[in-house]
Symmetry: C2
Subunit: 556 residues, 2 copies
Amino acid sequence: MSDQPVQPPEQVAEGEQKSKKQLQREKKEAEKAQKKKEHQQEQKQQEQIVQEEDNCVGRYGDLNLIQSQERTNRKWTKVGDVDQTLVNQVILVRARIHNSRVKGKLAFLVLRENYNTIQVVAEKGEFASAQMLKFMSGIPVESVVDIEALVKQPFKEILSCTQKVELEVRSIRVVSRSLPMLPFQIEDASRRITDFEDGIQEQKQEEPQQKQEEVQQKQDKNEKQQIQVMLKTRLDNRVIDLRTPAKQAIFRVQSGIGLLFREFLVENGFIEIHTPKLIGGTSEGGTNVFKLKYFNQDACLAQSPQLYKQMCLMADYDRVFEVAPVFRAENSNTHRHQCEFISMDIEMVIKEHFTELLDLMGDLCIYMFKGIEKRYQKEIEIISQQFPFEPFKIPEPVLKLTFEEGVKMLHEAGVNQDPHDDLDTVNEKTLGKLVREKYGTDFYILHRYPKKARPFYTMPCHDDPNYTLSYDFFMRGEEIVSGAQRVHDPELLVKQIKEKGIAVEPLKDYIDSFRYGAYPHGGCAFGLERVAFLYFNLKNIRNACMFPRDPVRLFP
Amino acid sequence: MSDQPVQPPEQVAEGEQKSKKQLQREKKEAEKAQKKKEHQQEQKQQEQIVQEEDNCVGRYGDLNLIQSQERTNRKWTKVGDVDQTLVNQVILVRARIHNSRVKGKLAFLVLRENYNTIQVVAEKGEFASAQMLKFMSGIPVESVVDIEALVKQPFKEILSCTQKVELEVRSIRVVSRSLPMLPFQIEDASRRITDFEDGIQEQKQEEPQQKQEEVQQKQDKNEKQQIQVMLKTRLDNRVIDLRTPAKQAIFRVQSGIGLLFREFLVENGFIEIHTPKLIGGTSEGGTNVFKLKYFNQDACLAQSPQLYKQMCLMADYDRVFEVAPVFRAENSNTHRHQCEFISMDIEMVIKEHFTELLDLMGDLCIYMFKGIEKRYQKEIEIISQQFPFEPFKIPEPVLKLTFEEGVKMLHEAGVNQDPHDDLDTVNEKTLGKLVREKYGTDFYILHRYPKKARPFYTMPCHDDPNYTLSYDFFMRGEEIVSGAQRVHDPELLVKQIKEKGIAVEPLKDYIDSFRYGAYPHGGCAFGLERVAFLYFNLKNIRNACMFPRDPVRLFP
């Protein structure tokens, strides 16, 4: 990477002696002289080039702005599809220049498309004039180019690219030039994430706008200097950061998680619904809502589709799901909170028992996890190069513990936990570790949560009103699913709303929906970003969201 | 429907004579006497029933609140699955009582589950005591019941139910009772929609809160009195209205439209993305945005994912789609405007020409329309009973006209149309009619819109800067898709933003995303509700949205 705009400054130890400084000065002067000499040589070369006849005229240059002038129906090949089967064929590729190196009569480019890379060579001769090589050397990295090239078997194995064949240039045309200075280099942003980097350390809530150093140095285990790109820099320049191979893979898998979720549910008789995000009143009566003016009414943004998906069930759509954004005005700057995220919601009628729901949701999780593993091997490999993670352990059948059993495990390990209150994040993580040690699983279900920990619409247990027919699913010690049987009796519902100190009147439409014959039912919600974040151990939920929203971030 | 709470008032012509009034008074008195007599008879019967021995004890009654007390693993059969193959078997069904009629020793119920109905009979004897029949007669319609029953071949064909077999009751237990008075009857809300009803007539913007009559009478062609349920009443009591067969079918098909859309795109290499709905600045720089406070920043709700989906492409996700809500603070009270709706967005790189996109989108539409027809025959049949519509004509290949050709057709028909300005709704409809007459199609593409009619990010035509590489798809004369090739050159983009008088600064992140190598690209957006609304000719977009949002409606 000879063209890195941001060079790591040389390290200068404190308290060094004058002689050392002098030595450095001399070194710098020598470098200067060397550079001058090189520059002169280069100028001479340039003059030579201009004088030489160009046998490649028309085979390189900048294309006009593509504006649907013509449709040639030529075939473009994807970088990821260029392999041994195409050797000796001339193909056409449109991709970015990932990096380039021109040395004398040889030019080496690496092209990148999505997370795939391929080496391109040009040697001065029949297919590349000196002028063409010069042109190639002047194309900034990240520019988009059309290259016609012969696919060749390389003399020695190419380790630095995903594709194991190389391309010998026939023509090169620039579709769109990048600015020569990038906010950061793709390569720096693609390095293996270590504990040093953001994600582990939470942003300090007290100084949210605090300017962070954009580029930091560190010594890695091999004592090589490496540039680390900070999370803030990545998010400020998200479009560049999303080009890194791991991000390319993460969001492909995330699309797949949505597909797997839908496949399973549609197969099991669910329909997809769309409920409003603009809500009159105060959503579920909670705090932490974003408020706004809706013409001349007061409105807020839905914190979840909870009330609406239940109303859909009362309207005889007996199994529904929704994948949609939800909004939480929670002023939490942590590695796992977002003010807007994608909630994958499910609601279904049950005949007798909330385990009908629980069992199906367990099966759904297994289906999704196995599906990821099966369909996205390549992406998993790529992600793990930047975000190392231990394979996800899920013994079947899925482990189910009651909340009381969980509390007992914590107590036995000497951890304080009120049996009638919710687990906090620390205790959740601790319990996750205890469960992994005892049962060898990264995924388990905790059910029968205390009443205090759950919302008003949760059905109490028939045998103990202090507990509820509710559950959370845990992945690597963090919650990914929260669900329960709901109250379908309007009188009990009103009683529980009042007990929580919530106003009944704004919930009238919702409560009334249970007055005209109500089916027993239950449901749950998955956080889409959380599934990817925890499955791949991405350290920070922002790594699983293209354009995250937190209390300080609203751009891009 | 002897138990209708809302009876059409008897018609009394104005200016009638006293003798007529007297006649009426006498009639009423006679009715009173008759009722008294019936009541006495009933009381007598009741006394008899109490005295009789009950041979059905334990086979009817109200169930306790279902609270996951036990899981029996009994098998429930869906109403829609009860057919000839089950004759002579005893099955268990959970469904609503659609209507009930008890006459002497016979009780007839109709059960309804989703849009399926089945007749249930009980005759006094071995399987039904007088007490049980009395209990059955007291269950309000819309209550949810568990019924065990023998499946029987009826003596004569049942015309009024979807299922052609009948059930002979063995046991009946109430899961959840409805209030006896419904806001309106399901049957009234299920009647065939005529021009009389809402949908054709637009709400008057000047008097949005105007109280509408809740129930109206009219004479239909057969001179029978019919109750029509007004749109406002339906929307105020949406959960009841959504139980009608047509609505049950519409939202099942709508779920399917989303599936078909995804299937086609995933098959063609697209991934699903999720972009933020909370946006800094002013979305696309337009008016009509909902504004809100985001902690201490100014934010607005996304009018479309336009800028973000393009940024995803610049981040090397080369084919993306999103299905998500968008928000428009447009004070329009028409049959086709919504303030929140589901936008099905697509964006993809193109190599040379926007017809690459156009052809694929044409194929996508064909795939969706044919898929609806193939997979939802039953639902189409049910919907057409309430919303009659002409079958949708789509000859292949899809007809493409340029905007100039469209203008010419309008001019030839004597219609005024500025060739450099957008079509208004009336001219869109007129052109739709002209196209249907000339080409016999309900679906066509109009492309090369004038520059004035399109947003700043639209690529101008290379051969005429007054026109753009843009298009709309029309269904029955109304737009369902709008799309274009986009500008991928940052300088041209800035120029066009300024030309439209929009501030450049808030769009900085977006514009910058094209500065580091940009792929030529284009895209489009479908309105999900519009597809269903126009395909089925539902007259009002609110019939294609579960919980619609318009300038006056924020509840439920």
